[in-house]
Symmetry: C2
Subunit: 456 residues, 2 copies
Amino acid sequence: MEHLDAQEREQQWKKIQEALFNKQIGEFRAEFLELHPYDQAKIFEEQSEDVRMLIYSYLSPEEMADVMENIDYEDVEEFFTEMDPRYASNVLAEMSTDDSVDILNELDKDKVASFLTIMDKEAAQEIKELLHYEEKTAGSLMTNEYVVIHAGQTVKEAMRHLRQEAPEAETIYYTYVVDDQKRLVGVISLRDLIIAEGDWLVSDVMSDRVVSVSVGQDQEEVAHMMRDYDFLALPVVDFQNHLLGIITVDDVMDVMEEEANDDYSKLAGVSETERSDQSALAAASKRLPWLIILLFLGMFTASLIGRFEKALDVVPILAIFIPLIAGMAGNTGTQSLAVAVRGIATGEIEKLGKTKIIIREGLTGLITGLSCGIVVTGVVYVWQGNLFLGMLVGLSIMMTLIIATIAGSMIPLVMHRFKIDPAVASGPFITTINDIISILVYFGLATMFMDLLLKQ
Amino acid sequence: MEHLDAQEREQQWKKIQEALFNKQIGEFRAEFLELHPYDQAKIFEEQSEDVRMLIYSYLSPEEMADVMENIDYEDVEEFFTEMDPRYASNVLAEMSTDDSVDILNELDKDKVASFLTIMDKEAAQEIKELLHYEEKTAGSLMTNEYVVIHAGQTVKEAMRHLRQEAPEAETIYYTYVVDDQKRLVGVISLRDLIIAEGDWLVSDVMSDRVVSVSVGQDQEEVAHMMRDYDFLALPVVDFQNHLLGIITVDDVMDVMEEEANDDYSKLAGVSETERSDQSALAAASKRLPWLIILLFLGMFTASLIGRFEKALDVVPILAIFIPLIAGMAGNTGTQSLAVAVRGIATGEIEKLGKTKIIIREGLTGLITGLSCGIVVTGVVYVWQGNLFLGMLVGLSIMMTLIIATIAGSMIPLVMHRFKIDPAVASGPFITTINDIISILVYFGLATMFMDLLLKQ
């Protein structure tokens, strides 16, 4: 189990490729199985279908299960379609239940049903238990391969039980204690267990204040709990406190990455997380819907300016400040949007209260607006020699910044209130809204003070 | 150790507050110490200085150490300044070494020196070992409180040693095996250790292909390794493979959150990660530098348009499409920027090669540009009844989208090449550059085809 950098992987990969080319099953197995499953998966993914078929015949379902636990979910459908169905269902049975469920969720229903029919009954039962939980909830993250002990057992009995179950269990570093109704009553870490004397009772060593999550809880909340409390595993219970499964820290790390990527992509207006290795056509088809929507919003902005054509005819110089004002509105809006979205995601805003945040953003907008407004007034006055023009642009920037800053934080807060993911109010969306606001402010003021502008 | 939601915390908090108000030390300790240290820290942070002084006198340095391990680093300076220096240095000595080092890095040098002088010698030595590692490297994340065993020991001896060290060690779930020169030669999980027979040798049970990170490695790479390989701990070595420390998964989760927040904030042009609970003045002072830079870039854009004043005088309608074209350029640029920055962060781009990515982005720009260009030409023609104007706007959008998409991915790639954090090429920055490009394209084309525009 060695971590390989790109060069080492290339060398190891050459050896493995040679073995595959010469159909030397022994060589291949010796080299391939020495790698960490993550690297096995990376090498497997690079192969053509012919070579993959060869690999299926060289590896047992159990060995293939390790590979498949580390594969990108985007590709699994292809692999599980080309495998012999019996082999495929054996691979699924050998995988960690939570991982095979994730894979089955990517396949179409007919295939899932046929795999589960061929599969070993016990494994199929375990998978079915997890299959119906909603995506992005605690239930969809948990596994049902965990060890439970009873409060009345001695430490020695518990350790014996743990040793037996260790090969199958997802983790043995936390063991959960249940009563006769399978209700969660305690937790004990392996650390405490190995320090304890063998004849002590589990009930004397365990902690009876167990932190648990309920099965429908959002996966982001689960991730935050694990990060804050530094747990390696969390038990999942139903509303009557029956133990249903456990979530381990490795799954939570994937969730954290996924959620962060999600927020990031939405801020940039890439609706689904794009991967760098996909084709231009795939990338374009993901970005185009957003761009087309923004295009029409932009047309609306253009038609707004069209309504002020008269002002533009009379004072054409007004046009040159449009991108400046619209751009500043977009920039501040995105800033306060980002702070609000992260604040909601980390739970900070919940604690502080929304009104406080909006007042805070309003004040921030006032300070930044005043500062930028004064700078702009000065620069435009010096540059164009027209004080009223300078004041018009400066005042527009100031008002725009205040409104844009408040809008940037208020829109995600309102969306959160109505249980819409606030990250959807992405950067480009806020930017376009703020474009519209800024145009209205700028030309509204220009029309009001037209006489003053023309005097100079 | 119970997770508390806002309401439960309020109740518990009232009891604790009452106990503090009535100076009932027994009551306070009973309620407070029952909480998870994370919740203790949250409650502690909400207190006034007077109450905090009271809490210091009620808790032992060891108990206070648990609280301080869970505190926001932004606030620690205040706390460690108001504490009695001897108490403070005892708290630091009792904390996990990696956490006390993180705190000492927030304090000024004089204070650090005086704390280390008062402190218990052994603890001071451990802290000094870690204090000089550079921020954001593996060295700065690691702790030196870990258990090592020797290859020649029996499993039984190793277990005995582990039991002794368990209370002090950061984790006992992975134990690292070293030779006489303290060089890392193997790793064994507690899981494997408890399954093994007592009289077996460690060398027979351990894995001798240990994944390790070198002490200067970037923390983001460490986080990715831990996520990919599903480790709970990683050993840190120098270039001669001497074991220096270990990094545990809980520290890596904090890094992942920190890096994700960092990238997100930069995309939005908030240079430092802002917290929702800071004052408007603090928020404004963090955002203003960015806004002022962008303001001057925006002025430059305005002066560019000023150069085309003639075209605007002749065809004032040109002005109304400025925000549309500039906006679309900004949007596509941010999209391809986000994909490139994430691709660099996850290492995907390294694997694929930069030329491939840029060609891919060029093609993507061509597809999105063509699509949007055709739509715009049609809409403008129908709306304004001027085919050449429609074609001018459409062609501008097409060219702008192609250039902006390429720029959005090329700029972060070039920055990465020169070892500058590509996330610094934030959204607003790319947007403003693309504003400038789009203005040049639009008015450049308009000037070239002025005759055609006027014909209709």
